[in-house]
């Protein structure tokens, strides 16, 4: 899936230029300034302040009812904030109608127009913007080529599979050369295998269109981790965590973010040294002292949670492993390409994901777990503030 220069250079062509003019030429960032949305008095988005950088994929994740889709719909113009402002680029769009915002949008159920063929679906936005016939033909051909659907141009949506329909929906959104692309759980209607393939295609698409800013709403953390440059975690209408994907995964700022963004082992510990003196933080669990990344300033004696991802725990030592944790095996599950070992330490259950083991540990046996201080971070223990 490659993109020709017409897609990259044609942003100022007539139809898209008119739409883009409404949202500013200089930048394609998305900015929420303390945006609040309420339905009949119930606040569903609570003072959201967030910025999606130009060319960035930001994944907005959270459980149902967390406000992530509402945030996306506010950018699209389908819900009007009770307060706050939304900017696309340099222009405030809070009160602009959806058709004047110059955005592309792909939704969960594709929302293709059932009575239109693939070409008519893809050209819809260009026709709405009054593009010339030649430009429409070129752009439709180009967009269908990008998503690998040229040979399906004359089919109706009902004659396509779910994955193909989603590709057409993406081509339709890209055809107007939006500065901002909104993806609302675009893969959740697909089966697991096609979803994995589509995630890879979306990643490739963004490599080919690096200027495109994408707001990607999903509840699937693996999609977010694969695609996003940064992730914002929502809960109950509020932003709970936001940051670049890697650091946010490695050192989540709170328990909710740690547990929602992948599996996390959270071990209650007491802070011995927060990292002011030594390069590593030191924490104690029972009589055992462990090293961790000094990612936050915590006073000595503070109760905290040590966050270690399941795959960071190893059953055998490596040179970079600073910590050894004696545990008791509670359960061993073989899942084909991996073993999942559940262990217990000081009353806390931990999960270990390991490559397939030739000799899995026996249930009830003692097992030493090894992990690097760099893979362990500290979280505030909200139960013991």
């Amino acid at each position: 899936m490659t993109v020709s220069s017409t897609m990259l250079d044609g942003a100022q062509d007539a139809p898209s230029a008119r739409a883009a003019a409404a949202v500013g030429q200089a930048s394609n960032s998305i900015r929420f300034d303390s945006v609040t949305v309420a339905y009949r008095g119930t606040v569903v988005l609570d003072h959201l302040t967030l910025e999606v950088q130009p060319g960035e994929i930001l994944a907005l994740i959270g459980p149902s009812g967390s406000g992530k889709t509402t945030a996306l719909r506010a950018v699209a113009g389908f819900v009007r904030p009770a307060s706050g402002r939304i900017h696309i680029g340099d222009v405030e769009v809070t009160h602009l109608p959806p058709y004047a915002r110059g955005i592309g949008m792909v939704v969960q159920n594709y929302a293709l127009f059932p009575h239109m063929r693939v070409t008519e679906n893809v050209s819809f936005g260009l026709r709405a913007q009054g593009a010339s016939r030649d430009l429409i033909a070129d752009r439709v051909r180009e967009c269908l080529r990008i998503v690998g659907m040229e040979s399906y141009a004359h089919r109706y949506p009902r004659e396509l599979s779910g994955g193909q329909q989603q590709r057409v929906a993406i081509a339709r959104a890209l055809a107007i050369q939006p500065r901002v692309l909104l993806l609302d759980e675009p893969l959740s209607a697909l089966d697991a295998q096609i979803r994995r393939s589509m995630v890879e295609e979306l990643a490739r698409l963004h490599r080919d269109l690096p200027d495109l800013t994408v707001l990607y709403v999903t509840h699937d953390q693996s999609e977010a981790l694969t695609l996003a440059d940064s992730i914002a975690v929502m809960r109950d209408g509020r932003l709970h965590a936001h940051g670049p994907t890697g650091p946010l995964y490695q050192t989540p700022p709170n328990r909710f973010a740690a547990e929602f963004l992948g599996r996390a082992n959270l071990l209650p510990v007491v802070v011995e040294e927060a990292g002011y003196i030594s390069p590593m933080a030191q924490v104690r669990i029972g009589g055992l002292v462990l090293s961790a990344t000094p990612n936050r300033s915590l006073d000595k004696g503070t109760q905290a949670l040590l966050c270690v991802r399941p795959h960071a725990l190893s059953l055998s030592p490596r040179p970079d492993h600073d910590n050894v944790l004696p545990t008791t095996v509670r359960e061993v599950l073989w899942q084909g390409d991996q073993h999942v070992v559940t262990v217990e330490v000081a009353g806390t259950v931990l999960r270990v994901v390991s490559p397939p083991l030739r000799q899995p540990p026996a249930i009830g046996s003692t097992l030493d777990l090894h992990f690097a201080a760099a893979d362990a971070s500290l979280l505030p223990d909200e139960d013991h503030p």
Binding site: Y99, A111, P114, A128
Partner: protein
Amino acid sequence: MTQAVDGRPLPRALPGGATLWVVPPLLVVAALFAYPLALILRQALTGDGDAASLDHFAAVLGTRAFRSALANTVEIALAATAGCLAVGLALALLLSFVPFPGSGAVARLVDTFIALPTFLVTLAFTFLYGSAGMVNAGLVDVFHLAAPPVDFLYSPWGVILAEVTVYCPFVMRPLMAAFSLIDRAQIEVASSLGARPGRIIRQVILPAALPALLAGGSLCLLLTVNEFGIVLFIGAKGVITLPLLIYDKAIQEFDYTAACVIAVINVALSLTLFSLYRLAVGKLGGRHAAVV
């Protein structure tokens, strides 16, 4: 034979051969519809004699009264159907896509017109727009006029307005049902792509609702072609339609043969319209399979 999971045959829903169950409804239809229709057709072909011929048809078709009634029937039916389509579509769009407080109550209020007898609406029109109705009385009082200024009720326009009022729910309801099936995300995506409301209605909503529009319009056309009560009650001057002509011939002139000839033509007209409707829906069914 349908097999259960464990291999045993499932019991039949009804005993006896499937074709046998067609007989009772066929008998009912024959007794209530086909037999009286056959009697009318026989009277139209034979008159008071025994030999069947088309002479009676030729005689009736040649009269000015019949041609005038046919023209009135078609004109009023087409105009009323167009009015029903326009008003029904506007109301359905408004109630479905521009929700406002009380929109549900308005929809139910419009629905009640279906439940009311047609003469009641006509009676209400008489009280409103008749020469001594509220509108005329008010205008005469306010402007000290010598004669009532509103004088359309007893013209074809009065019949058309009454029929639009009575039959527009037959367009509105199927349209609202069709609109409720349209994925709102399609409308939102169309809007995000730069389409304004007019384009969305033309290119997204109406194509999806075309079968419903056709169904409602055809139903209106059928009902207005055969409308009797409104035309009779308004008693519009010079507005004689085919049903009214049948009534005149049969009840006032006792010319049953002419009445039967006109009735046969009226039925043929209705069945032709119905066939055209089925044909249109059948043709569109393929392209609009998502909503048919």
